[in-house]
């Protein structure tokens, strides 16, 4: 067999007392796409960060094209033609695309020549980049393109992509995959980290699996299936079917009538949206990013000023309460519990520097006697969430910023669901979560459904939306494009509704 482009031998890396990688040995060859799989916190990103020079291994060796390589900094990695596209983009917002691309290269500043070279790369692989556009004006997918052009500009022929599709629409994902296949055929070695099984099956040539920092094995994609890969990742048998119990006695719980929202720049974000969410049902909300899902959830939670329309909460006895104009806290006090998993889990939902218990208290700090807070019940809750969702953390008094992304999300979802709401709203609850944790969250959402909670579920994976939800409300450009019953519809119908109002061509 050919000499591997990258060969890792017995790589070990620890953070304090946590072992992130334990004697991992792994090879990547040219002209292949390797999918690196593993649950959250299994050490995939840490391993890749060592190849790209962000971290340095405690022990073990890295070989590039058969020769031992010492990678102490990202610059060393560039010299070995290794380029990494990070999950959180490494771009300077106030710089243009071209400025970001040339950043750190030791030559005189020649923006005109740079732009020519960028156009060349774009032509070769089929990208579209405007070199003069500022990064803060770009969509997520444009930013990602800049990141990829950046590493190619440096002549990288070993590419590492950390969850590149997490924030892309299906169409953008297809375009990215086409580009990656082009690069593979061009003889580059590509490593992709992803949690989405159908992407692994569609794109990769080989898969390598990590579990709890250890290398479990590698397989040819053509000789395996999602079930086998998942079992390897998790370490035991898991069912890949999402349960969908039939709704019991659904009654209207939340009625939204002609809701319109205008943002600070005067752009209409929601236009005359009406729908009803029933108790004991999961209502999915689908739409391409920026179509108004965020505004919809925020107006129900009382976080977003509303232009016109009504939002009614219906009590069990049939009495109506208007939610618009109430303070978020007031909405909660009235017994209308709205639980909200914000899109940006660390920015809006949790305080990074506070520990798990304190973060739990953010929801219950008013519960103590007099001027004192009650710390006992949040401690109990934190321990419960850690046990139930298998959060990997030294203890409940660890600041959440020290947890890996997936574990942070588990803490957030766990807290919101524990609030025993009557209406539960979640946005991207499983974004960035591995299969096992995602299924735990689906299970929790189903438990809420059985408790007669009206669930609003904003998700980006259409397969999951259609399997988990009872109905799906499709938004397109702030308008209701359609309401479909998940039991008798398919992905393409929803996809068409997402991109065109009413799903009709023209």
């Amino acid at each position: 067999m050919a000499v591997p482009a990258i060969e890792l031998k017995e790589i070990t890396k620890t953070f304090g007392s946590v072992i992130a990688n334990d004697k991992v040995s792994l090879s990547v060859y040219r002209g292949e796409i390797l999918a690196l799989l593993g649950e959250n916190g299994s050490g995939k990103t840490t391993l890749m960060n060592m190849i790209s020079g962000i971290y340095h291994q405690d022990s073990g060796k890295i070989f590039i094209d058969g020769e031992e390589a010492v990678i102490n900094s990202p610059k060393d990695a560039f010299n070995y033609k290794i380029g990494m596209i990070h999950q959180h983009f490494k771009l300077v917002d106030v710089f243009t695309a071209a400025e970001n691309i040339v950043l750190g290269i030791r030559k005189t500043l020649d923006l005109a020549g740079t732009k020519r070279k960028i156009q060349e790369i774009c032509r070769k692989y089929g990208f579209e980049v405007n070199p003069d556009q500022k990064v803060y004006d770009m969509t997520v997918s444009q930013k990602q393109t800049v990141e990829i052009v950046k590493v190619l500009y440096r002549g990288a022929d070993i590419l590492i992509l950390d969850e590149p599709t997490a924030v892309l629409t299906p169409q953008e994902t297809d375009r990215l995959f086409a580009v990656l296949r082009n690069m593979r055929n061009d003889g580059k070695a590509i490593v992709i980290i992803t949690h989405k099984m159908h992407e692994v099956e569609e794109l990769s040539d080989r898969v390598a699996v990590l579990r709890k920092g250890q290398f479990i094995g590698s397989l040819k994609t053509s000789e395996t299936n999602a079930q086998e890969m998942t079992n390897m990742m998790v370490g035991h048998q898991v069912s890949l079917n999402i349960e969908r119990p039939d709704p019991v006695d659904p009654k209207p719980r939340l009625v939204v009538e002609n809701l319109s929202v205008v943002d600070v720049d005067g752009i209409k974000k929601l236009d005359n949206v009406s729908f009803t969410a029933n108790s004991g049902e999961i209502l999915g909300i689908a739409g391409i990013s920026g179509c108004g899902q965020k505004e919809l959830l925020e107006s129900i939670a009382g976080l977003q000023p509303v232009e016109s329309g009504n939002i009614y909460f219906i009590e069990d006895d049939g009495s109506k309460e208007q939610l618009i104009g109430l303070e978020p806290l007031k909405i909660k006090e009235m017994g209308v519990a709205l639980s909200f998993v914000p899109e940006d889990r660390l920015g809006m939902g949790l305080v990074a520097n506070m520990d798990l218990v304190d973060n739990m208290m953010l929801r219950s700090y008013t519960n103590g006697k007099g001027m004192f807070t009650d710390r006992k019940s949040p401690t109990k809750l934190a321990k419960h969430v850690v046990d139930f969702l298998e959060v990997i953390t030294p203890d409940v008094f660890t600041p959440v910023r020290k947890l890996s992304g997936g574990n942070v999300q588990k803490v957030l979802v766990g807290r919101e669901i524990s609030n025993a709401p009557t209406v539960l709203m979640t946005a991207y609850a499983t974004r960035g979560l591995d299969i096992n944790s995602s299924y735990t969250i689906y299970e929790m959402i189903n438990m809420q459904k059985e408790r007669q909670v009206a669930v609003l579920y904003v998700g980006e994976d259409l397969d999951v939306l259609l399997e988990l939800c009872d109905k799906v409300l499709v938004l397109c450009g702030g308008k209701v494009s359609g309401m479909v019953d998940c039991r008798n519809t398919d992905k393409h119908t929803v996809g068409a509704l997402m991109t065109r109002l009413g799903g009709v061509k023209g």
Binding site: I54, A77, K90, D93, F95, E99, V102, L103, L109, K134
Partner: protein, 317 residues
Amino acid sequence: MFGTIAYLLGSSIRQGIPLLFGATGEILTEKGGHLNLGIPGIMYVGGISGIIGGYLYEHFCANPNPALCILIPLLATIIGSGLMALIFSFLTVTLRANQNVTGLTLTTFGIGIGNFFGASLLSFFGDSGSISLLTIGKWYKAALIPGLDFGFLAYLAVIIAIAVSFYLNRTRAGLNMRAVGENPATADAAGINVTKYQYLSTIIGGIIAGLGGLYWVMDYTGGTWTNNGFGDRGWLAIAIVIFALWKPVLGIFCSFLFGGLYICCILIPGLSSAAKELITMAPYVVTILVLIITSIKNKRENQPPAHLGLNYFREDR
């Protein structure tokens, strides 16, 4: 009439030069991502270092040479303010201490050093009276362009401001430094030596600011020292950074404007002391207005560097 305007303009510029040095230094520091609130202290140290250097030269040399009269205090200032900035960068870059606390401490420390040596320097050498280096002051005050009453440091301030602007906007090293100030993780991943740029921006920034102190003691006051004589001009320099939207060339005009506002209370005859104090406030009020306006307009290019005041640790999770 023309004479009055020329006089006003000249006074404003002379008042503005130390502010310009301070502001340019702080802009360079902040563009590298570090908020050095020690600038007022560094300017005091810059001033007193120049005085010490000059005094020692005059004290031990019978026939002072004009070139050395200029070079020795200049070198002393560069060393003094450079050391102060080195303390700041070592604490904040290498030891990752809180930048606000470190800066404020350094200001208190620097003003203390200035006043201590200002009051006791002569007694170390058995002299008495007050510090007065009139020969050296004369060389510093000598008009570089005949007919215009500005010493060479005034021109240097403007040249440095333009040079820093060119460096930040037109060179690759400047691009790298701005990237470090905006997003060090990105700069790091791009292969830029973040620590090197952080040290360079704070130390060179500190030295530039220190020259403002030198200008004050040698040129403006002609080689004399008064305790607390430099006043709160260091803080005014930091206010100018905001007013100038982190643009060194804009900083030139802002410094002259602030210099004018700072002394106009002296130039307007017949003001009560309360009115004088109120007018002295003007630069700060204007700065607050600028902050309000830029915050409302919210243009991304006019915001402070995104990582300003935050320390960077590569392996932080």
